[in-house]
């Protein structure tokens, strides 16, 4: 039995029924329709107060029908996959095309195979959720062993498997098994009357081979380091200053400052600050930025996106030029180009939108140490919690959990709990040095554009001449 056949069986539909449903969806004159079937299981295990005393399993099941007419979208979903319920959903979605006289026939079925970017070595289903309890307990013990000020540890291990069956009116039929494993920990430390908290996480599209001793060591050390430093840290004096963004998680800058503004739905509607910039020079020739759905095991990887388009590597910025927006089928059609495979959705309850995958900057030639030593007064940041952007105005922010002051080219006093705000095009143009140490941060990054989607981000260390740093005034 092929994977597509297994999926058809799981959702209790035949290829003939898929064609009938798509035909119903297009019955009012829509130009394109797709069916997205999803079955997801999520297992979670929680440690609190030293004991693995919380567990959960969650099943979600259903299918969504989408109809596109021009750039208009009709969408409906159902949690019951009988032909009757699915036909009702198809009819509800079809209404968007009322008045459109065109009638597009459904093309013959073409089963599609895509390259697998997340092969599973050890299935989660081969072990019981509670058999993972010793792993999470070992993480707790490791954290307590690292620093006597550790007071509380909250750890959570989540693994999920999502089965997808996709069919569209172009005849594309494909299926996918999407794993996700996430380990996250929050550490509370107390020193006298002072309390601080820090966290760390790792997330990959992997099977249970995810659970290794290295992972425990890595997360435990990172969480403790991130918390311990806060006892020596303070809130700096705020204002405009140079900012060195450390490698890895600083990719949040790309996600917020330019990534969202490059999503083609915003540009198609002429509301992004980059709407008129395609093909133009927007930053230093040293900068190239990629959005990549093909990084093996990465949280943002997709074998195919949620519109049946292959996962791919998209150069958004090449040598300083804006070379591509991030497209779903609707925006690709508007711009008369191919989709970049960025049509993603949270679940069958949502229609797909252009969304990022793994967004990162390619290495430059500078050394991080040289970049830091070139700064007379500024800050170095490499630990973040969240970010946001205003697409039209271009103002983006990200919250810095910890970092350091830079004084006369040296890292000095630790800093914490400050927001940084800048303007996307200005900040991008203000990047004056790019280091050679790029890597992708594999934390549990989740993008919240209308719906939640797993992503990741990465960066080499860069120097931005000027951003507005939160802080206290003297």
């Amino acid at each position: 039995m092929t994977s597509i056949q297994r999926s058809l069986h799981l959702f209790g539909v035949t290829t003939e029924e898929l064609k009938i449903l798509t035909d119903t969806a297009l019955s009012k004159g829509g130009e394109y329709s797709d069916l997205f079937f999803e079955h997801s299981t999520v297992d979670e295990l929680t440690l609190r107060d030293g004991e693995v005393n919380g567990a959960g399993s969650h099943i979600d099941y259903g299918m969504g029908v989408r109809v596109i007419s021009g750039d208009q979208t009709g969408y409906a979903y159902t949690e019951i996959t009988t032909m009757n319920e699915m036909t009702n959903a198809a009819k509800a979605a079809s209404i968007i095309a009322l008045g459109n006289k065109k009638r597009i026939p459904v093309t013959d079925i073409t089963p599609m195979d895509f390259k697998n970017h997340y092969p599973i070595l050890k299935s989660w289903e081969d072990s019981d959720v509670t058999s993972r309890a010793p792993f999470i307990k070992a993480l707790n013990d490791k954290i307590f062993s690292l620093d006597h000020r550790v007071n509380k540890v909250i750890a959570k291990l989540t693994n999920s498997t999502t089965s997808i069956l996709f069919f569209n009116s172009l005849g594309t039929l494909c299926s996918d098994e999407r794993p996700m494993a996430t380990l996250s920990v929050t550490v509370i430390m107390q020193d006298g009357s002072r309390v601080e908290n820090g966290s760390s996480s790792r997330s990959y599209r992997m099977g249970s081979e995810f659970l290794t001793e290295n992972l425990i060591d890595e997360i435990a050390q990172e969480a403790v380091n991130r918390t311990a430093i806060l006892f020596d840290a303070g809130v700096p004096e705020g204002g405009e200053m140079s900012v060195v963004m450390g490698a890895g998680g600083s990719g949040i800058l790309l996600h917020e400052a330019i990534g969202h503004a490059f999503e083609a739905d915003f540009n198609r509607q002429n509301v992004s600050i980059f709407s008129d910039k395609l093909g133009k020079k927007i930053c230093s020739s040293e900068i190239s930025v990629v959005d990549d759905g093909t990084v093996q095991g990465n949280r943002g990887a997709v074998n195919f996106d949620d519109e049946g388009v292959a996962g791919q590597k998209t150069y958004m910025v090449t040598d300083g030029y804006l070379t591509s927006y991030l497209h779903d089928r609707i925006s690709a059609s508007y711009y008369k180009t191919a989709s970049t495979g960025n049509g993603r959705r949270e679940s069958f309850r949502y229609m797909p939108l252009p969304r990022m995958r793994a967004t990162y900057m390619i290495n430059g030639k500078s050394k991080e140490a040289d970049i830091i030593s070139s700064v007379k007064k500024g800050i170095f940041v490499d630990n973040f919690s969240n970010g946001q952007v205003q697409i039209g105005a271009g103002d983006f922010t990200f919250f810095v959990k910890s970092g350091y002051m830079i004084e006369s080219g040296k890292l000095t006093k630790p800093i914490k709990d400050i927001n940084i705000i800048g303007n996307g095009p200005k900040a991008l143009a203000d990047i004056v040095a790019v280091a050679d140490n790029s890597y992708i941060d594999n934390g549990s990054w989740t993008c919240g554009k209308e719906q939640y989607c797993p992503v990741s981000c990465g960066m080499p260390s860069v120097l931005i001449n000027k951003l507005t740093v939160g802080g206290l005034q003297q």
């Binding site: 959903a89 209404i95 809130v235 039209g392 709990d417 507005t468």
Partner: protein
């Protein structure tokens, strides 16, 4: 919106849980129905319709506890899922603090009708919904050359929840909600395209204010033209009632029982102490009919009651569910506030003219914040830093828009510098937090 076999499904799940070894169980059945229609400029851009249901199980097995959910209600599959869930729960470490709540604290029925559900929900034709969204756009299309794009959305949902537990608690809630919103972009200086938005929301269709969203959104976008960053320094701060809840939510989070027990709250150990300005009052109006958030019981079935949260700056309560109550020894309250109302101490419900214009005038000069852009609060210390946009004002008059700035401080210090609390909370919100004014706050610009 009752599913015909809803009580049968819950009864079946209860029996199955008991049969497979659960000592106690709580089942929450939820069903929702929603629709939304979005107009982009002069045509319908998106329509969405759906219904959904789910079963959430909390299982107490041999002193162990697990949470499980599914939307697959077919009997054989459901029983298999429950049996497996119980087996999973049995393998956890025992947690003696986990149990269903003391029945004497649970809601017993007979409460007043809180007017949360519109019986006409299913009667509203889709044509009317589409027309509401279209009219919002029509208010401004062609009215200003700078307008680049406008999206208006009409959305509604109906939510039906039934909670049943094995010690006899049963409670139902039904709620409807209607929202209309507009978001538009205008051509600014250079490549900038400032956005403006507005929304209205109600529990009953007939209470939904359907006109004015478009005009208000355009006005807010145009007001942002010519924005600038100003010098870092200490400024008085007025916060608009559309976003002022952002300065209350860190306090509510810090009062949460889980954060107290986990020593991750800047209000830990402060119960009964005066922490904030005596000017400040937050009261939980849990039973106000026709208001978002009003409810008779929480998700454990514990009866809610109106009462003070912050009274003259003193912490009056933590939010303790039965689990964290047992772990901390602090009596059970409710798991979270229902309808927090912020006011000047002793002025709650008093009618006066203490609205935005009055507060701006009394504050003199400073920054009027109309939007927070990102940022966060350290839950252990209360230190916060948020991006902002808004306006610089003097003598109560708005002079020019400001953006690309941060506001930074500590929640306790901030609320000790509160100078005024308005009387103009938006009824469209679940938390009734009015316009706020603070003295000498740290703003970061150039």
């Amino acid at each position: 919106m009752k599913q015909e076999n809803e009580s049968e499904t819950i009864h079946f799940a209860l029996k199955a849980a008991e049969k497979h070894g659960a000592g106690a169980v709580r089942i929450t059945y939820n069903k929702t129905k929603h629709s939304s229609y979005t107009f982009r400029n002069d045509k319908l851009d998106r329509l969405q319709q759906a219904t959904g249901s789910s079963l959430f199980l909390q299982l107490y097995v041999n002193g162990r506890y697990g949470t499980f959910s599914t939307n697959r209600m077919e009997r054989t599959e459901l029983e298999r899922f429950i049996a497996k869930s119980i087996e999973t729960t049995k393998l956890l470490t025992e947690d003696k603090h986990r149990s269903l709540p003391d029945t004497s604290l649970c809601y017993k029925g007979g409460g007043t009708d809180l007017k949360q559900c519109d019986p006409e929900f299913s009667e509203i034709p889709s044509e009317k919904k589409i027309e509401i969204a279209r009219m919002c756009n029509a208010e401004i299309l062609g009215k200003d050359k700078r307008l680049l794009n406008v999206n208006s959305e009409y959305g509604d949902y109906e939510d039906h929840t039934l909670i049943v537990d094995s010690q006899g608690f049963s409670g139902t809630t039904n709620q409807t909600n209607y929202t209309v919103s507009t978001e538009c972009s205008v051509k600014g200086k250079g490549d900038s395209r400032p956005e403006g938005w507005w929304y209205e929301s109600s529990l009953f269709f007939n209470d939904l204010k359907t006109g004015g969203c478009g005009e208000k959104a355009l006005e807010r976008a145009i007001n942002k033209l010519g924005t600038r960053k100003i010098k870092s320094g200490k400024y008085n701060m007025v916060v608009e009632n559309t976003i002022s809840s952002r300065l209350v939510s860190p306090i509510i989070n810090a009062l949460n029982g889980a954060n107290i027990q986990q020593n991750n709250s800047f209000l830990n150990g402060k119960l009964g102490e005066r922490v904030f300005s005596p000017l400040m009052e937050i009261y939980d109006e849990a039973h106000l009919p026709g208001e978002f958030g009003s409810r008779l019981f929480d998700s454990e079935g514990i009866a809610t009651k109106p009462g003070p949260i912050i009274d003259q700056g003193v912490i009056s309560t933590y939010f303790m569910n039965s689990y964290y109550s047992k772990k901390t020894g602090i009596p059970v309250t409710v798991e979270s506030p229902s309808l927090p109302v912020c006011s000047i101490s002793g002025q709650r419900g008093v009618s006066n003219e203490n609205k935005l214009e009055h507060i701006l005038r009394n504050t003199g000069k400073g920054i009027f914040v109309t939007g927070f852009n990102g940022g966060n609060t350290n839950s252990s210390t209360g230190d916060f830093s948020f991006g902002i946009e808004g306006f610089y004002f003097e003598d109560g008059s708005i002079l020019y828009p400001v953006s690309e700035m941060n506001v930074t401080g500590n929640i306790i210090s901030l609320w000790n510098s509160v100078r005024d609390i308005g009387n103009d909370a938006r009824k469209a919100s679940r938390w009734l937090i009015p316009t706020l004014s603070f003295n000498s706050v740290d703003f970061n610009g150039f």
